[in-house]
């Protein structure tokens, strides 16, 4: 048991967790159903929180000069996204009339803490809001199912290994000599998450929900990078602040921008949005007038 809790053993477990992060990124990219994309992302959030917490424990056991509390603050971020992502994406997907903001937030909170509300709350208004959230969820799942464009790209079978290879090659070649193996692997996984997330965002067959999840994958890469690369106390504080700020922007996208966009474009399919978009380079065609 003592051997299991030694820094070396825990480092082995840490490396395994980081590899699982890449596996979940593969799941996010290759799955067709939006519901499964979100589920895979939530699993990744949990894994990342565990990875970060374990990294803090290892630093403690090694007696390295690091502010453990800062690393744990970083672990908090993927947990927030784990809880909030599905309700936020449900809310963003469903087309609905404007409702009072207070009611909207209460339904959202009921969705975030649904597990607790279902089992432990007997407050009628709260349960009513959970019911409203469940209806939203059902409508969202219908919209996700109705999306026509397949997400799986045949070329991903080639692209994914290439992205992974690029990330590992880059990480192992750019790492300074004083980087330990675990730091190199962490950097490699971070770069891989960035590249896979970027690839997700650029896939034309994707919907805007999955595109957003691609950005969130890159967020995870950023969190991991701060944990693995910037593990020195004082600058780490300001980097943690920057991560919180960046997460606030991500929440802004999920809470305000994505729902507004959805209300305007009436479809979550990117190809359909592009086809009907007023933002094209040109072109007022006067041929209609000329032909009449």
């Amino acid at each position: 048991m003592k051997d299991l809790l030694s820094p070396d053993s825990l480092t082995g477990i840490l490396d395994l967790l980081e590899i699982l992060l890449v596996v979940t990124a593969l799941a996010v990219t290759t799955t067709d159903a939006v519901k499964s994309v979100i589920a895979a992302y939530r699993v990744q959030s949990l894994l990342l929180a565990a990875t970060t917490a374990l990294a803090a424990v290892i630093k403690l056991l090694e007696g390295k000069q690091v502010t453990v509390s800062l690393i744990l603050l970083i672990a908090f971020l993927p947990l927030v996204l784990l809880i909030a992502i599905r309700p936020l994406l449900v809310r963003a997907t469903v087309l609905r009339q404007d409702q009072p903001r207070r009611e909207d937030i209460q339904v959202l909170l009921a969705g975030m803490f649904a597990w607790i509300v279902e089992r432990f709350s007997w407050n009628e208004p709260v349960r009513r809001r959970l019911k409203a959230y469940r209806q939203l969820e059902a409508d969202a799942e219908d919209a996700w199912r109705d999306r026509h464009a397949p997400t799986r790209s045949q070329s991903f079978l080639l692209v994914f290994p290439a992205l992974l290879l690029l990330a590992f090659l880059a990480a192992f070649s750019i790492s300074p000599p004083n980087f330990e193996r675990t730091e190199r692997i962490g950097l490699a996984v971070s770069l891989a998450l960035h590249l896979i997330g970027l690839y997700n965002m650029t896939l034309p067959q994707r919907d805007i929900i999955s595109q957003t999840v691609g950005l969130l994958l890159m967020d995870h890469g950023l969190y991991l990078a701060v944990v693995k690369i910037v593990a020195i106390p004082v600058p780490a504080t300001i980097f943690v602040l920057s991560l919180y700020f960046y997460t606030a922007i991500t929440v802004f996208i999920l809470l305000i921008l994505l729902p507004q966009l959805r209300q305007q474009v009436r479809s979550i399919d990117r190809a359909e949005i592009k086809r009907t978009s007023p933002l094209v380079d040109a072109y007022k065609v006067k041929s209609d007038d000329a032909s009449q």
């Binding site: 750019i174 300074p176 690369i229 004082v234 600058p235 300001i238 700020f245 507004q260 007023p278 007022k284």
Partner: protein, 540 residues
Amino acid sequence: MTLPNDVIVKLILADLASPLIVVLFAVGAYLFRPRSRGRAARWLDWLTFAASLLCLLIAAALAWAPPAQEIPPASISILGVVKVDLLIDALSVYFILLVNLVAFAASCAVLTSPPEAERAHLFDGLVNLFHFTMLLVAVVNNLVVLWIAIEATTLVSTLLVSWRGDRAAWEAAWKYLLVTSTGIIFALLGTMFLANAAKDLLNLLPATEQDQVMNFTFLRDHITRLSPDFVRLSFLFVVVGYGTKAGFAPMHTWLPDGHAEAPAPISVLLSGVLLKSALYAILRFATLTNTALGNSQFTSAVLLAVGIFSLVAATPFILNEKNTRFKRVLAYHSLEHMGIITFGVAIGGDLALFGALLHTLNHAVTKSLMFLSFAKVMERFKSIKVFEQADITGVFKRMPVTGGILAVGGLALVGTPPFNIFLSEFVILSGAFKNLKAGATNLPAWLVVMAIVVFMISTTLIFYGLVRHLARLLLMPHEREETRPAVGATAISAPVRLEPRPRELVPLMGLLVLVVALGVSIWQPLARLIQLSVQTLMLR
């Protein structure tokens, strides 16, 4: 003449505080909205104008007597909890001047446009917050706080891009935030690499001051101790990251939509200063990288590639005559001019750097003039039920004064003498030729010559492209005008004059005077400020 350091710091703080005070008033207007509904519209606009005028006067005072060297470290404490170290040197003063000048032009435009009425508090609050965040970018010392400040500009400006609230605006805002957020991740990674390399420098700082390890001034003085490879890597990531925000190709995809769909004062701020704020960050990192490597070959090579690529990428879009939305054409000109500025920075040397920095000002002024003039045209054409940009033609007949301003501004934008942009482009090219003649180029001579050739071909094509767009906009008869009298009719009906009131043209005239004046000569105080900024960049 130089102001005492404590006076400079107080002026900077007053400059930062002015827009924030208006934000507080805007919050108050929101909280007391039922009572001030309707009336908030104009008094907040006037307050914004007053604050921006004060900021401009402060910036002018600082520019008149800039610090010859960076002033000793100063810091501000936010709520007694967070300490932000300030960096005040000639370069930051120059960018403060730029931000305040364009913000003033934008506030004048807000004042001479129809009021926002119900949402004035939100609009003015956001505009002033935007102003504040851009000023913050120019004065922070810590590179991570710099990143936070730039990201803050993104967040605030997204809400402003989406202001109109229709589909196009929300799509543009979505694209803007998604693309720039993706890019800015790379900037943070680049900063992180530098932080990791800098951990070896921690022992140079007392325990209570170790938060200064990521300060620009500290890194600049000690960066030669860091691994050159890591510094190069950091710079590459930073160019990709901040370059996305600066609108460099191929990360510029948000730019045409964002600038075109935003309200005109916001387009002015986006094009005039937001792009330059991101460039400012790149310039600071370039200084660090050049110091670490002992020469500027690496940064010059990277920036030359980026600059020329941006310039070339803009050309086909401007040449495309089917691109009938003039605001999008103007947005592509931003891509072109950012490419020109970066080209000048890449060429290096006193003269080219001077030209590049001068070009940041000249582009900001000229682009402001173009966006605001065209906004007036759009506003007036709406009164005759012409809502699409593509349908706006024959502006000269209906709005001869505004049309004339557009024509002059357009010619200035494409580098026609004797206007300002011609002068700064001429100085950049002179710097390039001077370096070639002296054999003092950072890069191989053949590469510089090729870049100059590409520069001249692209700018010539762009000249042709914009002149064609302007001809269509200003001279092509509007479809509502009868070019021939109908059978039995006795006269051609004259087009309705749409010229705005003279007071609405005052901001445009002011900008026009600047466009001409800056083309004829560069005022001594401004020239001195830019020279000091160049010395700051070259670490003299």
